[in-house]
């Protein structure tokens, strides 16, 4: 499919919902991609399962604080410079670019790169949601090296990082990002078409667009935005979204440790949730949702806080006392729930003393009659039916 300006508007919303509270305010990334597409034409989005095994793909992203990027608007070609620097270093031209995560900013950055270079974008990523660190990638879990990586700033400085593993890449790239003024532009995890097929989260970009369409009521009507979101997700590799809570934010507590906006948001229930309290713990992204002592959703499943009326996503930086919100859960694809994957981003990695419980298992009644994708059907049939 071709991705145009209206699709980018939807993607900014849909990807921010998949971003689970993280990934930054999508506004600047969206405007950059819209401008680049207006000037250079629409971008081809490639089916990740139909690309050539030998295709060479270089994903692109921004790194650092979204707040910085909202003030220091990029020049627009930083990520392209990173891509070219990595091509030069590797001695091979990229055939396509791709997002590394689904999140407000980083889902749209590759479209700016693609529009400016004429490259297509592969409809996949390595997180299926947002996570804070470079090694938190299905690519990493399946043994793909993030390094060498190229990192560029607004001034035009570019570094090539050759690191011994993906953890060292994260550590060094983060340090460079600070020296680059708190935000940088990166090309990393260069891989083949075959790698994308085995290690990527497939169709996450088009799903982001469709979720955004559903929220905006574009090409789809009837029902509330949340109802449309639920309808769109049913049957995808993710699975049907589930309404978890409605209420009003009565407390937001934040502290910071090494670049993480860590905190808790407390939501007091309204309507059918009257009398209940939901607590969501976040570390940039929402990690665990606890309703009066019962854990109703946990990482890596997606917990998204949406505004009450229009179901637009609210990032954790923008949570404020008094907002009326609804909370939605979206199951993650099975590739993100393997034992190896959970070691990298399960509740225990984030310091919690419990194991991950999939939304489908925790909310059996809700999922009993829902249409599941094939892999999930096999795995949960016995529990649900």
């Amino acid at each position: 499919m071709k991705v145009g300006v209206e699709d980018i508007k939807s993607l900014a919303i849909g990807a921010a919902i998949l971003g689970a509270g993280g990934g930054g305010d999508p506004y600047v990334g969206m405007m950059m991609a819209m401008k680049a597409i207006e000037e250079n034409g629409e971008v081809e989005l490639l089916d990740p399962l139909k690309i050539d095994d030998n295709m060479f793909i270089i994903p692109t992203a921004m790194m650092g604080a979204p707040t910085i990027m909202n003030e220091r608007i990029p020049s627009g070609d930083e990520t392209v410079k990173s891509l070219h620097a990595l091509e030069k270093h590797l001695g091979r031209r990229a055939d396509a670019t791709m997002p590394i995560e689904s999140g407000g900013i980083n889902s749209t950055i590759p479209f700016n790169v693609a529009a400016r270079t004429g490259l297509p974008v592969v409809d996949a990523d390595g997180m299926g949601r947002a996570f804070p660190e470079l090694q938190m990638e299905t690519f990493h879990i399946y043994g793909i090296s993030g390094s060498p990586a190229a990192i560029t700033d607004e001034r035009g400085n570019t570094c090539i990082l050759n690191t011994v593993d993906n953890y060292q890449l994260e550590w060094l790239a983060r340090g460079v990002t600070i020296r680059m003024g708190g935000a940088s532009h990166i090309a990393e995890y260069a891989m083949s078409g075959k790698d994308v097929k085995t290690s990527g989260i497939h169709y996450s970009v088009s799903l982001g667009i469709r979720i955004g369409d559903a929220i905006r009521g574009r090409n789809i009507s009837g029902g509330t935005p949340l109802e449309r979101l639920i309808a769109i997700t049913e049957g995808t590799t993710y699975g049907k979204a589930i309404p978890l809570f409605k209420g009003k934010i009565v407390d937001v507590e934040r502290r910071t440790t090494a670049g993480f906006a860590i905190g808790n948001v407390t939501i007091s229930g309204l309507e059918e949730y009257e009398g209940k309290t939901l607590n969501i713990a976040f570390q940039n992204e929402n990690l665990v949702a606890d309703c009066d002592g019962d854990i109703i959703a946990s990482v890596p499943d997606i917990i998204s806080i949406l505004d009450y009326d229009r179901a637009l996503p609210i990032t954790s930086e923008n949570l404020r006392y008094g907002f009326r919100v609804q909370v939605v859960g979206i199951p993650t694809p099975e590739i993100m729930r393997t034992p190896n994957a959970l070691k990298v981003w399960g509740p225990r990695y984030f310091g919690y003393d419990f194991d991950f419980i999939p939304l489908e298992v925790k909310h059996k009644d809700y999922y009993a009659n829902s249409r599941l994708p094939e892999e999930k059907e096999k795995k949960y049939r016995a529990i649900l039916r």
């Binding site: 401008k35 909202n70 608007i73 990029p74 910071t256």
Partner: protein
């Protein structure tokens, strides 16, 4: 001796009040807003001075709140063409100024911009070298093309304003001070696009601002009032008339803010729910420490995203002039309103339209005076319909209260604005989440009173890096000091200045422990 006059120019009425230096209310007056606002202001001044038997020589301060600016932006009327100078290169090119604006508004302001070298990182390092010659070239070009209003925006200027000020000096020296210059660090917070948008709108309001300030000056001159003149701004504090001429965008939401401040003044409460009912709308918000709670989300003005200081309000089409319809036994309310024509078109004044005020009068819970009042229409209406309408009004109020309330515990609610009579007093106790409803005497003058008692404020926003030996407490103290300094500089009495708001946000995904702190301080007007 030290008397103050507060004036509110609204869409329907122009109100004026006189208060003493100790904020005792001495006189109030209400008149109709006129096409040339000067006439209405003069008339309200005459009325209020006469009714209080006040001598003009005792008036020391006059403060005004007005809807001129918001209307100009929404209606795209009388807007100036603006030359936009963004100090950003080599960064900042990806999204040009005014990208994504409604075409009509972009056309109205000329749509021209220049991107020049400069700007800072959050920690103060320069992004590009500032180049005076480059700036001069742009200014010359803009001036030759007939631009007289300039909007100047630099990356991280709220942290380091020096380059914006340099550009202002260059423009001033090249144009003999004839250009109108808007600097973004005086207007908005961190978030370049939103701050730039607000700055461009501000520059576009140049002409509107001079006519609004001229109206006040002219009215005062006509009545020999030789006082200091102020405009009230979005955050409930005052600015001088010269500052208002330069930064009119900061007055854009002063109307609702003044009613909140007036509500606080009339009741002595510092924390409460405030409901302000005018002719067309019901506005509700939270009063926190005597000021309206500020919105933290991006606020759109005339279709343009901005991030400057605005009260966080909900609004319903349910004011005193709102039209009530009965269709097949169903009762519907609003959002249309008869507005300023209430006293001609509403049933109780012999008109042919049922309004919410008629409902209140018809059910006997509100009284109105006047020669033309005629309650004959009551005979044709079953009380059942009127009661249904009253219940819908109450439901709107209940929704508004639930929207704005931030705590579970019941809170007092202050009801102000002329349209407040549509809420039945015998139902006050049934409003959920509210401990008591207070409708103070003079509730219909809350707005003008809010202007009269306004304080002088200062605000500062900085990004502090806590890794360079500075603790969070030190950063907070530094920010507070700067805010107090700003308030005093703006004309507040040092010994009365208090910190009224602190907001701190840690920058995510950045391990250098950077924190953005915003502090606001306000104090009494120095006399």
């Amino acid at each position: 001796m030290g008397l103050k006059i507060g004036i509110d120019v609204g869409g329907t009425h122009t109100d004026a009040v006189v208060v003493s230096d100790k904020n005792e209310v001495l006189a109030v007056a209400k008149t109709n807003t006129t096409p040339d606002p000067t006439d209405g202001i003069v008339e309200s001044l005459d009325m209020v001075l006469k009714s209080g038997g006040i001598s003009v020589s005792d008036i020391e301060h006059v403060m005004i709140g007005t809807t001129h600016c918001i209307n100009a932006v929404v209606e795209r009327k009388n807007l100036a063409r603006v030359a936009v100078l963004r100090i950003c290169r080599p960064a900042g090119l990806a999204i040009p100024p005014m990208y994504g604006w409604p075409q009509g508004l972009k056309d109205a302001v000329g749509g021209r911009y220049w991107l020049v070298s400069g700007g800072f990182d959050y920690d103060g390092r320069k992004i590009g070298e500032f180049n005076e010659l480059e700036v001069k070239k742009c200014v010359r070009e803009a001036w030759e093309k007939g631009f007289r209003a300039f909007a100047v925006v630099g990356i991280f200027s709220p942290v380091i304003p020096e380059q914006e000020s340099n550009v202002a000096e260059i423009i001033n020296s090249m144009t003999d001070g004839k250009a109108h210059i808007s600097l973004s660090h005086k207007i908005g917070r961190i978030g370049l696009i939103e701050r730039e948008n607000a700055t461009i709108l501000n520059a576009a309001l140049t002409n509107v601002a001079s006519s609004a300030t001229a109206a006040l000056q002219e009215a005062c001159t006509k009545r020999d009032i030789n006082a200091k003149l102020y405009f009230s701004q979005n955050d409930g504090t005052l600015m001088s008339i010269d500052y208002a001429r330069q930064y009119p965008i900061l007055t854009i939401a002063s109307g609702p803010t003044n009613s909140f401040r007036g509500a606080s003044f009339l009741t002595g409460l510092r924390n409460a729910i405030v409901v302000d009912i005018g002719g067309t709308t019901l506005l509700a918000g939270m009063l926190i420490n005597g000021f309206p709670r500020q919105s933290s989300a991006a606020v759109e003005i005339g279709g343009v995203r901005t991030n400057f200081r605005m009260p966080d309000l909900v609004s319903f089409g349910c004011g005193g002039g709102t039209i009530v319809k009965i269709i097949n036994g169903e009762v519907l309310i609003g959002p249309e309103s008869v507005g300023y024509e209430l006293e001609r078109r509403a049933l109780s004044w012999g008109g042919d339209i049922l309004t919410t005020t008629d409902v209140a009068v018809g059910l006997g819970y509100a009284k109105i005076d006047g020669q033309n009042i005629n309650l004959e229409w009551r005979k044709n209406f079953s009380s059942r319909y009127l009661e249904k309408a009253r219940d819908i009004i109450l439901r709107n109020l209940q929704d508004a209260v639930e929207h704005v309330k931030t705590m579970k515990e019941p809170m007092p609610m202050i009801l102000v604005g002329g349209g407040g009579i549509i809420i039945p007093p015998d139902k006050y106790s049934e409003i959920r989440g509210v401990s008591e409803v207070i409708r103070p005497a003079l509730f219909q003058y809350a707005n003008a009173l809010g202007a009269a008692i306004a304080e002088v404020g200062g605000e500062v926003e900085r990004v502090f890096s806590l890794d360079s030996g500075m603790t969070r407490a030190e950063a907070l103290r530094k920010a507070k000091e700067l805010a107090v300094y700003e308030a005093v500089r703006a004309g507040a009495r040092q010994d009365t200045v208090e910190v009224v708001d602190i907001d701190e946000v840690f920058l995510a995904y950045l391990p250098s422990n950077a924190v953005r702190i915003r502090v606001k301080a306000a104090g009494k007007l120095a006399t």
